[in-house]
């Protein structure tokens, strides 16, 4: 077993900004342990002499002319927003009391 703890899953959930319930953390801890155990097999063949591939078809220097293209209007950009003031997205406080 890779030994993933519930505390670790809770920490990861916090990093990923998902407010998981205690039951979800318990389930995910067990599942994650099983999945990570299984996929850890990649380390068997990933020896230092093998280069990593991040992108299947290598491309270099993808440029375009520096001209303004089609952009969304303010109305279009705000159309799907849960809350806005007509020109900006509106959110709740950025900082909590302890910050």
């Amino acid at each position: 077993m890779s030994g993933i703890s519930a505390e670790q899953v809770a920490h990861i959930a916090n990093l990923a900004r998902i407010d998981l319930s205690p039951e979800e953390i318990a389930t995910l801890t067990a599942e994650l342990d099983q999945i990570v155990d299984s996929v850890a097999k990649v380390t068997e063949v990933a020896t230092p002499d093998v280069p990593a591939t991040s992108h299947p078809i290598p491309l270099e220097n993808v440029f375009r002319d520096d001209v303004v293209g089609e952009t969304l209007t303010v109305e279009q950009a705000l159309a799907g927003a849960p809350d806005h003031d007509g020109s900006r997205f509106r959110v709740s406080a950025i900082l909590g009391e302890e910050q």
């Binding site: 670790q8 990093l15 850890a40 990649v42 093998v50 990593a52 078809i57 799907g80 959110v91 909590g96």
Partner: protein, 509 residues
């Protein structure tokens, strides 16, 4: 009349439209009527765009009536996977977090099909954010396989495949990250193609794993996929990974398909253990037909494919965890404020808890873990090295053969619910399709027949080198012709009567 229309392939319908024998409004209405009749039992559609489709159809009829020269599929209805953003239809990617969202722009592939005169008739169901192999992870309920309503239609693009198999639409758009076009084709007796990575623009496709995702055609015939591929396979400056190649006509490759002298490699690692007997039987019969038609069948060895699923289930969640960070309750979609309020981060965490389903959370957590300090090199770094090894396996194979072949998936359609509690068992469905995504190479699945033990469809997959997509259409077109000569028609002609299946199901309730 309308029953005849819905059974026409897209290319046949296109010819009848061009000859003024059928109008675009009639073709669109026939699809809409079929959806109204059967989609209560299939659940392939999340949204049906009745008014917009009929308006677009009237416009095509007017243009054709005024003598305008239109493309081969002008006036043909098309279903669009809900992962592609559309200005006139809500786009949810199968998630609650985007329920009711109407995007401010069209995906490039959608724009191209509109420009070619196709009629988008609706958005198709899918696993949430394309994460799954069965559509059971859709927030809006699963899609049912038109061959047997208690079975999965494949995933993530089960909606597009089922819509085509149920004659609700002649053709559809899909997306394929680890097999989401090809595996649904396999279990529904239809055709699906994942083009070379970068051949079709991903602009406006809600990203799961950006280095693996690719948009492609879903259809009932190989020629129809080729015609759609020719329409959407264009360079797009909105996608920095879009290729600038000049492509040959895929439709021409189907029409002139000839496999004599073609070398086909059978992947030893995907031909035996873990595969259902009926799947292997149909696979080998197809190979025998191709051999009789002049192809040379040899065995190829891909020792690193064994590690492909593991690498995929590290790379894909890692990329997905980053891509899904955009669902933050600020610019679009759901916002849930915790009791008593909270900071923007509290709102974000409450929204993502309420808006994402279990599989999406599982993959975000797995991906965040794989990318976190202390584990990055062991997991994500190693997975990227396996990606190199899988590419080398393909390169070695393609030094010997023109295309490689395997069954598309290990089994026929399993029952809804059968694997939904076992993530690892679900992930193994993609064993034969994932290597192509890791390497960026193109693949096709087309019907190979029915498995003797359960009477359900089986697909055969061909994979070609990067940028050699036309070989898929050569071998696919040739095999389809050989098989249909054996069957005396299309495989879907053998499908049970869907209205009777639905009536029986309702009677049993």
């Amino acid at each position: 009349m309308s029953d005849d229309i819905i059974r026409l392939s897209a290319s046949e319908l296109g010819e009848r439209l061009a000859a003024h024998e059928i109008s675009a409004v009639e073709a669109t209405q026939a699809s809409l009527d079929r959806i109204a009749a059967v989609d209560g039992g299939v659940n392939a559609f999340l949204h049906v765009a009745t008014d917009a489709a009929l308006t677009a159809a009237r416009d095509i009829d007017r243009r054709r009536g005024s003598g305008e020269k239109l493309g081969p599929l002008a006036g043909v209805p098309i279903a669009v996977k809900d992962v592609l953003v559309t200005t006139d239809m809500p786009t949810t990617a199968g998630s609650r977090i985007l329920e009711g969202w109407v995007p401010p722009y069209d995906a490039t592939s959608v724009r191209l099909v509109r420009e070619a005169g196709l009629i988008p008739i609706g958005k198709t169901n899918m696993d949430e954010f394309a994460m799954g192999s069965s559509t059971e992870h859709s927030a809006y309920g699963p899609t049912h396989n038109p061959w047997a309503l208690d079975r999965i239609p494949g995933g993530s693009g089960g909606g597009s495949a089922a819509a085509v198999a149920a004659f609700e639409a002649p053709i559809a758009l899909g997306s394929d990250t680890g097999g989401s076009i090809r595996q649904p084709a396999h279990v529904t007796g239809t055709v699906g193609v994942k083009p070379t990575y970068g051949a079709v623009s991903r602009y406006g496709a809600i990203a799961m794993a950006s280095s693996l995702d690719q948009i492609g055609p879903v259809s009932r015939t190989v020629l129809d996929s080729a015609l759609l591929h020719d329409i959407i396979g264009k360079h797009d400056h909105h996608d920095s990974t879009s290729l600038r190649d000049r492509w040959p006509s895929m439709a021409e490759a189907v029409r002139t398909a000839d496999v004599s002298g073609m070398r086909i490699g059978v992947i030893r690692q995907l031909d035996g253990e873990g595969f259902q007997q009926g799947v292997l039987d149909r696979f080998h019969e197809s190979l025998a037909l191709l051999e009789k038609a002049g192809a040379e069948i040899v065995e190829v060895n891909t020792p690193n494919f064994e590690y492909a699923i593991s690498a995929y289930y590290l790379i894909m969640p890692a990329e997905a965890s980053s891509n899904l960070a955009k669902f933050d309750s600020v610019r679009f979609g759901l916002r849930v404020t915790p009791e008593g309020g909270g900071t923007v981060e509290d709102v974000m965490a409450a929204t993502r808890e309420a808006g994402f389903g279990a599989e999406v959370k599982r993959r975000i957590i797995l991906g965040t873990y794989a990318l976190s300090a202390g584990y990055y090199d062991a997991y994500y770094g190693s997975a990227q090295k396996v990606r190199t090894l899988v590419q080398r396996d393909f390169n070695a194979a393609f030094a010997q053969v023109d295309v490689v072949a395997s069954p598309t998936a290990p089994t026929t359609a399993f029952k809804l619910g059968e694997k939904s509690d076992d993530p690892m068992a679900m992930y193994l469905n993609d064993i034969a399709t994932i290597p192509a995504n890791l390497a960026g190479v193109p693949g096709i699945s087309l019907p190979a027949g029915l498995a003797a033990e359960d009477g359900l469809p089986v697909g055969i997959q061909f994979v070609a080198p990067a940028r050699a997509d036309e070989r898929l259409y050569t071998v696919g077109g040739a095999l389809e012709k050989l098989l249909e000569a054996e069957w005396g028609g299309r495989l879907l002609d053998q499908a049970p009567d869907l209205t009777q299946l639905i009536a029986a199901q309702e009677g049993a309730r």
